[in-house]
């Protein structure tokens, strides 16, 4: 069973969390000026990373806060956890 470290509540079981997909995707500031292709890209296009992945999680059955995590999608190992708004930490092996 995976353990995830909520930045507020500390180490908790995976079952308390909801995965939120890829992180650090900024919503366009002026959606009305976006072309269909650009908006579709914002909504749907994701990296599908093999390796180091920066992603969002929510402590759904705890404090219900969103936060960010760095996970290796090959080994499923979590490498870092950080609060929303904090810069992404550099992780060894990150090719991006």
């Amino acid at each position: 069973m995976l353990t995830i470290k909520c930045p507020w509540c500390g180490d908790r079981d995976l079952t308390e969390f909801a995965a939120g997909g890829e992180g650090h995707i900024a919503r366009p500031l002026e959606p009305a000026t976006q072309s269909d292709a650009e908006w579709g890209d914002y909504i749907y296009t994701r990296k599908n990373t093999k390796g180091i992945h920066y992603e969002r999680w929510m402590h759904a059955q705890g404090c219900r806060r969103w936060f960010n995590a760095v996970r290796d999608t090959v080994s499923d190992e979590f490498l870092a956890f950080y609060k929303t708004g904090e810069p992404a930490p550099k992780v060894e092996g990150d090719g991006s």
Binding site: C9, G10, R12, T15, E16, Q61, G62, C63, R65
Partner: protein, 204 residues
């Protein structure tokens, strides 16, 4: 005519005092009771906003706990940390809307105060095996040195969101939404069956 203002426990239909479960040497090692009637108020606001933090202190007599999972107490009132900027104030029933009004008067517009007294069922477990019963249900670290008196955590038991607090040694309160109260009671008492358990009269 049904009096709709009278508070009726969500457990009223199934609550039965006595001794149940396995017969073990030394008698039952888990005691259940419903905590009622309580006043419960959900408090939200910015802890670094002085108007809010001072207001909370005026309303309930203790400082906001800002360490995750901590409980502050003042007399018979507990102020439980739920999440960043979210707390739950719990005390024996002070009358309809009284505790909520105390917070609203003291905090003004600096906080969001909601009376949830009618919306929660609170089940108290105590005894030598109370911790073991909870360990069957919630994926939390229940080690005696970790989940100590004065600590609280939100988690899930049987997929129901719960708040679990430890007010005293080997004593735990399980808070669930009222609609889940009966299910949680049945789940917990079933889990305690192997140890033998008693059901005491409800108290605050």
């Amino acid at each position: 005519m049904v009096d709709l203002t009278e508070r009726v426990s969500a457990l009223a239909a199934i609550y039965e005092t006595g001794t149940f479960g396995a017969t073990v040497d030394g008698g039952p090692s888990v005691a259940f009771s419903e905590r009622r009637p309580l006043s419960i108020v959900h408090v939200a606001g910015k802890p670094d906003d002085k108007a809010f933090s001072d207001g909370v202190k005026t309303a309930c007599g203790c400082d906001l706990p800002t360490t995750p999972g901590d409980i502050a107490t003042s007399g018979d009132l507990s102020l439980v940390w739920l999440a960043p900027e979210r707390w739950l104030a719990v005390c024996p029933n002070r009358g309809s809307g009284v505790l909520e009004a105390a917070f609203r008067d003291a905090c003004g517009d600096s906080g969001a105060i909601i009376d949830v007294s009618h919306g929660r069922t609170v089940i108290r477990l105590s005894g030598a095996n109370a911790r073991t019963v909870l360990m069957k249900g919630a994926p939390l670290d229940f080690h005696k040195k970790v989940f100590t008196p004065g600590r609280a955590a939100q988690s899930a038991i049987s997929q129901c969101g719960t708040l679990i607090t430890c007010p005293a040694e080997d004593t735990f309160d399980v808070y669930v939404f009222r609609a889940f109260g009966q299910h949680m009671w049945e789940w917990l008492t079933d889990a305690a069956g192997e140890f033998g358990y008693s059901v005491e009269t409800p108290a605050t």
